[in-house]
Symmetry: none
Subunit: 239 residues, 2 copies
């Protein structure tokens, strides 16, 4: 059982949705899908639940399951996760300064977030993200040494971090949790972002997990309040 059945169904359904269906179009009912794929209702519901969570479809009790109005290709805009891509789309020049890169003993916070064992070390990558050469976001990223042995700074220069993690280590982040809070900048942070001390800023805590539910990255970041807007979409799965 290399790939679970329900994940194959997710892929297949997503394909059909993207290529053959329109927004708000009704999908076959669970009982119909069950016949099509020759699986149990449990399996179908696992697949539909995943699609619903990711906002690909929405479900209405008593009515059915429908294609969401948002094209899946358009999602993930506006967040750090696709910082470079998002900015480039808008005709601005995104860039990244890799400031420091070290193998260190983790702080208590980092150790907890990455679920590390006692003697495990982590890579700490400090970056500044700029738009049109203006600093917008300062970030500290922590990666477990155990998952990414022999990672070196030259691996990262000029490349997307996630591309490196994928191509060199086969690690793919499938979900990120982000906690966002409003703060005021201290002196050091305001120097880096080139704004006045005490300016408002977004503090972003971010945890990325792979398909085995293992945390592969933890990042703390601060972003200029005046020129950084965090955009997100919320899907209605409860109610």
């Amino acid at each position: 059982m290399a790939t679970p059945l329900y994940k194959k169904i997710i892929l297949d359904l997503e394909n059909k949705i993207n290529n053959e269906m329109s927004p708000n179009e009704k999908l076959p009912s669970e009982r119909q899908l069950l016949d099509q794929y020759h699986v149990s209702r449990n399996t179908i519901r696992l697949a539909l639940r995943d699609l619903e969570e990711r906002g690909v479809v929405y479900r209405l009790h008593g009515k059915g399951t429908f294609v969401s109005t948002v094209s899946v290709n358009e999602t993930n805009l506006g967040n750090m996760y696709s910082f470079s891509n998002q900015i480039a789309i808008q005709g601005h020049k995104p860039s990244t300064q890799n400031r420091t890169f070290d193998l260190i003993a983790p702080s208590k916070e980092v150790k907890e977030q990455l679920h590390l064992l006692d003697n495990e070390r982590v890579y700490k990558l400090v970056r500044v993200r700029l738009i049109d050469n203006e600093p917008r976001l300062y970030s500290e990223t922590f990666l477990p040494e155990g998952l990414f042995p022999d990672l070196i700074m030259s691996d990262l220069n000029g490349k997307q971090l996630y591309d490196v993690l994928k191509s060199k280590y086969g690690q793919i982040g499938v979900m990120a949790f982000e906690d966002i809070q409003a703060v005021t900048l201290d002196k050091e942070e305001s120097n880096i972002l080139k704004v006045k001390s005490g300016s408002p800023a977004l503090k972003i805590y971010r945890r990325v997990i792979n398909d085995h539910n293992v945390t592969i990255e933890y990042t703390r970041a601060v972003a200029r309040g005046d020129k950084f807007i965090y955009r997100t979409r919320q899907y209605n799965n409860l109610v």
Copy 2:
């Protein structure tokens, strides 16, 4: 079946986690919980999955289920969309003050966001959201008169806004776009939220669409920076 079984289990487990357990502590295994609650494994897994999604616990294949390191009390306060539900489930008392409710001519901003025609009016609903009687979020919500004719304030008292929109008008929001920015509070806002003027805060702009891609709500809100954390999940399209 008033409240589903698995939701009761969620509440109970969350209570125990908050009151009796520590971060990274191991929960009983699924088979043990199954015996404790006298339910099927399916039901236990429904509950655990919910807790995992909301970041209350994390699960490791072959090892077990563990309490997350993020303090649950501080998290999940951010999702306005299900503000009341999210809070209630964690043992805190959410409440809402409906301050004013008027039928007005929309400003240019509101008119654009709701895609209104020239003479259409909107309802303006001003609310304060509190947790344990402490103000956390001030919001101004705009609803098109055309979609919700004869909406009156007494409809809203003691009820969830989304329940009213659904039951009285059949309107269901399926997705929300939210833009989030860090700001400092002005005098009026800081008075309402009972913090010092100049304190950091989250400014949230929010647009909700229904299953026909029609904007049914536009909301502006500010939330206390020190006690309001906005949590989101980002999914990766690939895999």
